[in-house]
């Protein structure tokens, strides 16, 4: 595709290094998001975000309605949890999360009515403080997968000059962000205008990968059609290359800036928002309905009817799979999230959390299980690393437990995108080595 010379359309300021060309498998791209009927029960973990876990504010036997706060925390970095169905709290106990960690969870038995909590009304927002407070109350966390509380992100102490709207969706299989662009493009746009207005952000870049021309066209039409923005909103087409949609890569593509290790995007004047989160903000300000459901892609060869589905938070994975027709083939691997960064799970009772954007069930044909062989020093891991790390060295230094060398190798910069492991012909579990290396460095740091 050639360069497009229309005002408002820009190319990446700086090309991202490395990365891998992964098969897209965007099989569900044309499937409209369908709403799943409410499940019999939901389990709402008190830890669905990065930060402090919430404490349940309800007790067993309480009647709750959709949107009612059932868990909250007084710690700054946290986000409240709302009931996603109406019914009765039947249990408060421990629940296992996909990663294996335990958290407190509130079980709600649905009464089948999906009755909305009477306290819900559109928030009154006039100032930036009102806006941040409203977003906190909405329970919104980054819907792209990271799960960082949005009100913290919006309340950055430093001045933001560029807001980047992330519609890259570089993970294979996942198409919910694409659907958001197609189905709720106006929500996205009004969300952008709202954030711009309250945070006084002068520039906005909407980033879309070039394998989503439809999404690009729709967003472009909206941006072009609104002259009141005065050219402040630009739309950027990116080459489809994993991990284009990673925060660091986004910032580099849109502004040419490199995020230094340990810094937040706001430290270099940037803010990256996922499209679904942006659209949610605009809907929340209109209706006041907090984050009680989310869209996710359900796909993989073992799934009978792959779907994009809107599901109440806390629905169990087995209920979601059942809604998608169940398994047509024996599943070999089930992944919460995308194939590049998602977590393989063993327990289908896991509840869906706020930041989970996909559920993949692979049969023996697409669950690739390879035998690990010796490293041949081909250097593919180093060329694939978008952050200029040399994974094969890090593996060697991890085995030698050489913490100083690991710090020098920059392992703490690693975002575990998986590009190295994807491209490794020896099938080394490189991401696992990176995690091990990071924990070594953290341990050594804690001892000091």
């Amino acid at each position: 595709m050639g360069k497009i010379h229309i005002p408002g359309v820009i190319n990446a300021v700086k090309k991202v290094r490395g990365g891998v060309k992964v098969p897209h498998h965007k099989n569900t791209a044309e499937l409209e998001v369908v709403r799943m009927p409410e499940p019999k029960q939901v389990v709402l973990p008190m830890q669905q975000h990065i930060g402090a876990p919430c404490t349940p504010t309800v007790k067993v036997g309480d009647k709750v309605a959709v949107g009612q706060v059932i868990g909250d925390s007084d710690k700054p970095v946290s986000a409240p949890i709302h009931a996603s169905v109406s019914g009765t709290v039947t249990a408060i106990g421990n629940v296992k999360l996909p990663g294996g960690a335990m958290a407190q969870g509130v079980t709600i038995e649905s009464d089948g009515e999906m009755r909305l909590y009477e306290g819900i009304k559109a928030p009154h927002v006039e100032t930036k403080e009102d806006f941040i407070k409203a977003i906190r109350e909405s329970g919104l966390v980054g819907l792209g997968g990271a799960g960082f509380p949005t009100h913290i992100k919006l309340n950055a102490p430093s001045k933001i000059d560029t807001l980047i709207i992330n519609a890259a969706e570089c993970e294979p299989y996942i198409t919910v962000d694409y659907r958001e662009c197609i189905e709720n493009s106006w929500d996205i746009y009004s969300g952008i205008r709202t954030i711009m207005e309250f945070l006084e952000i002068p520039h906005v870049v909407i980033a879309v990968e070039d394998n989503k021309p439809e999404a690009f066209k729709i967003l472009e039409q909206i941006v072009d059609g609104d002259s009141s923005a005065g050219g402040a909103i630009k739309i950027m087409q990116l080459e489809s290359r994993y991990p284009q949609g990673a925060e660091k890569m986004m910032i580099q593509s849109a502004t040419g800036r490199q995020l230094p290790p340990g810094k937040l995007p706001s430290d270099i004047g940037c803010m990256v928002m996922n499209v679904a989160s942006t659209a949610f903000i605009s809907r929340y300000l209109k209706t006041g309905k907090p984050l009680v459901s989310r869209s996710l892609t359900v796909d993989g060869l073992a799934i009978k009817e792959p779907k994009n589905v809107r599901v109440p938070i806390g629905t169990s994975i087995s209920d979601i799979i059942e809604f998608c027709g169940g398994f047509k083939d024996e599943p070999v691997k089930i992944i919460a999230g995308g194939p590049m960064m998602g977590t393989a799970i063993t327990d289908l009772d896991h509840p869906l959390s706020k930041s989970n954007n996909a559920l993949l069930a692979f049969s023996k044909d697409d669950a690739k299980v390879f035998k690990e062989t010796d490293c041949i020093r081909c250097g593919r891991c180093a060329s694939a690393c978008p952050l200029s790390l040399v994974p094969t060295r890090i593996v060697r230094n991890t085995k030698a437990k050489d913490v100083d060398a690991l710090i020098k190798d920059g392992v703490m910069v690693c975002m575990e995108c998986g590009s190295c492991a994807y491209s490794c012909p020896a099938k080394k579990p490189l991401v696992q080595h990176m995690r091990l290396a990071k924990s070594l460095v953290r341990e050594a740091g804690a001892k000091k």
Partner: protein, 330 residues
């Protein structure tokens, strides 16, 4: 649901490239086939015999070494086959057959398995084998056979000195008794089995580059350095440059041996430094040294420097300051 305990759990990513070590090695073997065909065409069935012996012994030695070392068997990765082929390609057709297993043993047992097998050797095994043979049996290793003088009755052919020795004496554009340029390109010249046919090597090299098995950096910079050096040394005589590039084992070395993963730097800058070094040492040996050929020595010498080259060419991790000073200022 009753699926629990049946599901595979592994660290992300859950999708992997279809390339494996074996598939990469197979690609290299495919790329070596044109040169193999050319070697049989020019030097007769004895060439094929040497190649088969070399490959056979390399695989057997690898097999035995792994058993002795109580390590997992690795002959399936096909890397021993490549070492065998490359070693044979670096031998003259007239070599006594009993020398071939000695070369294979040095290559596989000493240079490769003593250091831990694939990925651990610090010099190119095939070149180590060649150099040990060259220093142990200098006469047998530099007796050359005139191509296409073999017949089914007289398999040995007629022997004579290598053209490279003559090239260095080339003063003007007179080529004298040298093969013509066309003969140099198609491989109608004296030399080791796999090194004479430039066309066959280029086809193989191109195949590797297109299949993304190797990057073109090392061959291009290596050949470029030699060309530049020879241009100056030959006082601008382009014909001399062409003969130098096509002569000896330069083409084979540049595309198939200097690009060996294990013994070349993985960083881009490192690859350039490595290739320039190979080019300079090759040229210096050829012009100033007593030896007619410098490709194997240059690659081996640069192999040894790879860890050092890599250490000074490591890329800066994303977002870290470009210079040490800036880092300290913060």
């Amino acid at each position: 649901m009753t699926l629990n305990n049946k599901l595979v759990v592994s660290a992300s990513p859950h999708d992997r490239t279809h390339k494996t070590v074996r598939s990469l090695m197979l690609d290299v073997i495919i790329a070596l086939i044109p040169a193999l065909v050319a070697s049989v065409f020019f030097f007769g069935p004895r060439a094929l015999l040497i190649e088969c012996l070399s490959v056979g012994f390399c695989v057997i030695f690898e097999y035995i070494s792994r058993i002795f070392m109580k390590r997992e068997q690795t002959i399936g990765d096909l890397s021993a086959v490549i070492t065998g082929l490359l070693l044979a390609f670096n031998l003259p057709v007239s070599i006594p057959l009993w020398m071939v297993p000695i070369g294979s043993a040095v290559a596989i047992v000493v240079a490769k398995q003593f250091f831990g097998g694939i990925g651990q050797n610090f010099v190119n095994p095939a070149l180590a084998g060649r150099i040990v043979l060259l220093t142990s049996f200098p006469v047998a290793m530099s007796t050359w056979t005139v191509p296409r003088t073999w017949t089914m009755q007289q398999l040995d052919g007629i022997t004579k000195a290598s053209p490279l020795a003559d090239i260095h004496n080339m003063t003007s554009s007179e080529t004298g008794g040298l093969p013509t340029l066309v003969e140099m390109i198609i491989g109608q010249r004296e030399g080791c089995l796999g090194e004479t046919c430039a066309i066959a090597i280029l086809i193989g090299g191109l195949y590797l580059i297109i299949r993304k098995v190797i990057s073109p950096t090392i061959p291009l910079v290596y050949l470029g350095t030699v060309a530049l050096f020879m241009l100056v040394a030959g006082k601008g005589n382009l014909l001399f440059v062409a003969y130098e590039l096509l002569g000896g084992g330069l083409m084979l070395g540049a595309f198939f041996m200097a690009t060996d993963y294990t013994t070349s730097p993985i960083t881009f800058k490192g690859k350039i430094i490595f290739a320039i070094g190979c080019g300079l040492i090759t040229s210096i040996i050829r012009i100033f040294g007593n030896l007619p050929e410098g490709v194997s020595y240059s690659i081996i010498l640069m192999n040894i420097l790879v860890p050092l080259i890599e250490n000074i060419t490591l890329p800066k991790p994303f977002g870290t300051p470009k210079k040490e000073k800036e880092a300290k200022a913060k």
